[in-house]
C-alpha cells in the first residue's frame, strides 16, 4: 500500500542539540499538557463522574462473568448468602447454643451475617482492586478510584440480593414489615460509605505492598468476632466479665454500629437499649471519616498505581 498523505514533516529535521527551552516553549505554545500528571482533586472527581457508566457496567460485568461457568448461573448470587446463613445457624444456633439470651436469634444472626459479609467482601475486593487489575491499569487511562468504587458497588448489589432473601426469612420468622424497616436504608448507605472508604485505603496499601491481601483474612476474622456478628455484645455486658469501657469500645467499632442499626431497624425485639449512646452520630462520623479520608489518600497516589 502506498502512502496517501504527503509526509508533512520530512521538511525540517534539526541540527542536533537544539536548546531544550525551545521544546518546552513549543509545547506551551500549542497548549500541550504533561502526560500522566495527577489531576487536582475537583478535576479528579469530575473525571470519575464522567466514568460513571464504566464504573457501573464493570461491576455488573464482573458479577455476570463470576457465575457464568456455574450450572446454576446467577442463582448463586442468592444461594451463597443463604448457605452462609445456614452454616452459621448450624454452628452457633444449634451446636453452640449461643441463642440463650438473644430473642429472635435467627433474624439476629442473619442480619449480622449479611451486613458483615458486605463490609468484609468490600474490603477484600479493595485489596485486589488495583493489584488484581494491573493489566487494566497499565493499559488504559482512567481515574484509578473507578476500580475500588466499582467493586464496592458490586458488593452493594450483592447485599441487596441478600437483603431480599433476608426479608423473606424475616417474614417466615414472624417479623412483620414496619416503618422502622426504612431505617435500614440510611444505615446501609452509611455502611457502604464507610466500607468504600476503607477499601480505598486498602487498595492503595495493597498496590504498594501485595502482602496486605495475605494478612486480610486474619484481620477480617478478628474483626468479625469482635463485632458481635453471631453473638450479642449487650449480653457480654450483662455477664460483667469485662469492664464497661471494653464493651463500649466493642459497641462503638464501626461494623458493630452498622450491624446494630440494621438489627434495630429490622428485628422487633432488638430495641434501642441494645444500641450504644449517640449511635447515629457514630455511624455518620465513621462513614464521613473513612470515605473522605480514604478517597483523598487514594487520590494522592493516583499516578503511581500500576508502576513497577
Amino acid at each position: 500500500m502506498t502512502l496517501t498523505l504527503p509526509p508533512p514533516t520530512k521538511a525540517a529535521p534539526a541540527p542536533a542539540a537544539r536548546p531544550d527551552e525551545d521544546l518546552q516553549a513549543l509545547a506551551r505554545h500549542h497548549g500541550l499538557t504533561v502526560s500522566g500528571a495527577r489531576p487536582p482533586l475537583p478535576a479528579y472527581v469530575r473525571e470519575l463522574w464522567a466514568r460513571r457508566d464504566f464504573i457501573a457496567s464493570f461491576a455488573t460485568a464482573r458479577l455476570t462473568a463470576q457465575y457464568s461457568q456455574a450450572r446454576l448461573g446467577q442463582l448463586w448470587q442468592l444461594m451463597t448468602p443463604l448457605l452462609n446463613a445456614a452454616v452459621y445457624y448450624l454452628i452457633f444456633g444449634v451446636l453452640m447454643d449461643v441463642q440463650r439470651g438473644v430473642p429472635d436469634y435467627v433474624p439476629f444472626l442473619l442480619t449480622g451475617v449479611f451486613v458483615w459479609t458486605f463490609t468484609a467482601n468490600t474490603l477484600t475486593a479493595g485489596t485486589r482492586a488495583i493489584s488484581g487489575n494491573l493489566g487494566l491499569v497499565r493499559a488504559l487511562h482512567f481515574p484509578r478510584a473507578s476500580l475500588p468504587l466499582s467493586l464496592a458497588l458490586l458488593q452493594l448489589q450483592q447485599l441487596f440480593l441478600s437483603l431480599a432473601a433476608l426479608v423473606v426469612i424475616l417474614l417466615c420468622f414472624g417479623e412483620f414489615p414496619a416503618w422502622s424497616w426504612l431505617l435500614a436504608v440510611p444505615a446501609i448507605a452509611l455502611q457502604a460509605l464507610f466500607s468504600t472508604g476503607v477499601s480505598l485505603v486498602l487498595a492503595r496499601l495493597a498496590a504498594r505492598t501485595p502482602d496486605v491481601s495475605q494478612l486480610m483474612p486474619f484481620v477480617l476474622r478478628t474483626w468479625m468476632y469482635a463485632s458481635g456478628v453471631m453473638w450479642s455484645i449487650g449480653s457480654l455486658a450483662e455477664r460483667g466479665r469485662f469492664p464497661h469501657a471494653v464493651v463500649l469500645a466493642l459497641q462503638c467499632n464501626p461494623v458493630a454500629v452498622y450491624i446494630d442499626l440494621v438489627r434495630f431497624a429490622l428485628v422487633e425485639s432488638y430495641t434501642a437499649a441494645n444500641l450504644p449512646p449517640h449511635v447515629w452520630a457514630l455511624a455518620i462520623g465513621w462513614a464521613a471519616l473513612a470515605f473522605a479520608g480514604g478517597f483523598v489518600w487514594f487520590w494522592k497516589a493516583e499516578e503511581t498505581y500500576g508502576r513497577g
Binding site: 520530512k10 521538511a11 525540517a12 529535521p13 500549542h30 504533561v34 462473568a65 488504559l140 500500576g306
Partner: protein
C-alpha cells in the same frame, strides 16, 4: 512560525553514561519552508527507569529509555523499531501517561490512547457485551458506545465477514468509512445492540480464535473514539491479511483526521507500509529519526552486520 525544528537527537546534557551510545543527526538539514503542522507530542530528554523485584526482597533498577527527544506532529504515522528490550513499548506507555518518566517531560495534545483495550475485556462475557465494556473502558459514555456499536461490529467484520469490495481494492482511498456498507445493510441502527443468535458476537469471547478476538479488540479501540494521538503496540501482527489491510486504512483515516499514530511492530513491512517516519531505539537511546524507509533500511543493515547508521 517560531517553532523549533522538528527533531533533535539524544540529549545534549543527558548524564554522561547514557550519552555514550552512538547517535546520529537526522537527514535533510533543510530549513522549514512552510509552516509545520501543530505538534501533538513533544518529548524532551526523556529518561525512564523502573524497578523490577528480583523475588528475594530486593529490587533491580532498569534504565529503559535514555534521553530521547522528538517532536511528533499532526498527520504523522511514526513507527518505532529496535531490538527486543530497546525501550519501544516503555516509551509508548510513557507517551500514554501510563509510565512515569524519571526525568525530562513528555507533553501531549489531549490524552493519547494506547490501543490496549484487551485488558478490560472479559472472556466469559459475550463479544457484544465486551464491545460495550471495552468502549466504556476507553472513556465513552453509555450513549456514545450504543451509537457507535454498529460501526465497531461492522469494522471488526465478525458479524458478516469482511466486505468483498474492500478486499478487492486494498489501495482505495481512506475517505470511505469502512463501517458504512455493513451498517446500511443491517437496515436501521438499533439503539440497544443485540446480536443475532448465530452471530459470533453472542458467544463468549473466550471461544473466539486469536484472530477473531484481535479483530474485535482493534475495532473497539480504533473505532471507539477519535483521538489526537493513537498508540499501537504490535496490533497489526494479528488478524488475517484482509483485516490487516483494513486496519492500515483505519490508521490512514486517523492521520487524515489530523491525528498522530505511533506504531510499534516487529514486522518491518508494516512500518514501511503504514508509517512515513520512524524512530529507531537501541538500548534505550534514539539511534535514528527520519523517513521510515531510510530508518528501516539502516536498522536492517545494523541487525545484519552490526553496523551503526552512517553519520551525515
Amino acid at each position: 512560525m517560531a517553532d523549533p525544528d522538528e527533531t533533535t537527537t539524544a540529549a545534549p546534557n543527558a548524564p554522561a553514561t547514557e550519552a555514550a551510545g552512538p547517535t546520529t543527526a537526522p537527514t535533510d538539514p533543510a530549513p522549514p519552508t512552510a509552516p509545520l503542522p501543530a505538534p501533538t507530542v513533544v518529548a524532551d530528554r526523556v529518561h525512564i527507569a523502573y524497578t523490577v523485584p528480583d523475588g528475594l526482597g530486593g529490587n533491580r533498577r532498569v534504565h529503559a529509555v535514555k534521553g530521547v527527544c522528538f517532536v511528533a506532529r499532526r498527520g504523522e504515522a511514526i513507527g518505532l523499531i529496535g531490538s527486543n528490550g530497546s525501550g519501544k513499548s516503555t516509551l509508548l506507555k510513557a507517551i500514554a501517561g501510563l509510565q512515569p518518566v524519571e526525568s525530562g517531560t513528555i507533553h501531549t495534545q489531549g490524552r493519547p490512547a494506547l490501543l490496549g483495550v484487551d485488558a478490560a475485556l472479559m472472556g466469559d462475557l459475550s463479544g457484544e457485551r465486551n464491545v460495550i465494556l471495552g468502549g466504556l473502558a476507553m472513556g465513552m459514555t453509555w450513549s456514545e458506545i450504543t451509537a457507535r456499536y454498529d460501526d465497531i461490529v461492522a469494522f471488526s467484520g465478525l458479524e458478516e465477514g469482511l466486505d468483498e469490495d474492500l478486499d478487492d481494492h486494498p489501495a482505495a482511498g481512506p475517505a470511505t468509512p469502512p463501517a458504512d456498507p455493513a451498517a446500511r445493510r443491517r437496515g436501521g441502527l438499533s439503539p440497544h445492540p443485540s446480536a443475532a443468535p448465530g452471530s459470533p458476537l453472542s458467544r463468549p469471547l473466550r471461544t473466539y480464535s486469536s484472530g477473531m478476538s484481535a479483530r474485535l479488540r482493534f475495532a473497539i479501540s480504533a473505532t471507539a473514539r477519535s483521538h489526537d494521538v493513537l498508540l499501537i503496540d504490535e496490533a497489526l501482527a494479528t488478524g488475517d491479511a484482509r483485516f490487516r489491510r483494513r486496519s492500515r486504512r483505519r490508521i490512514d483515516e486517523l492521520r487524515a483526521a489530523a491525528g498522530t499514530v505511533f506504531l510499534v511492530a516487529h514486522a518491518h513491512a508494516a512500518i514501511r507500509e503504514t508509517c512515513d517516519r520512524a524512530l529507531w531505539l537501541e538500548a534505550g537511546t534514539l539511534r535514528m529519526d527520519g523517513p521510515a524507509d531510510e530508518v528501516v533500511a539502516a536498522y536492517e543493515e545494523f541487525t545484519r552486520t552490526g553496523a551503526t547508521p552512517p553519520s551525515r
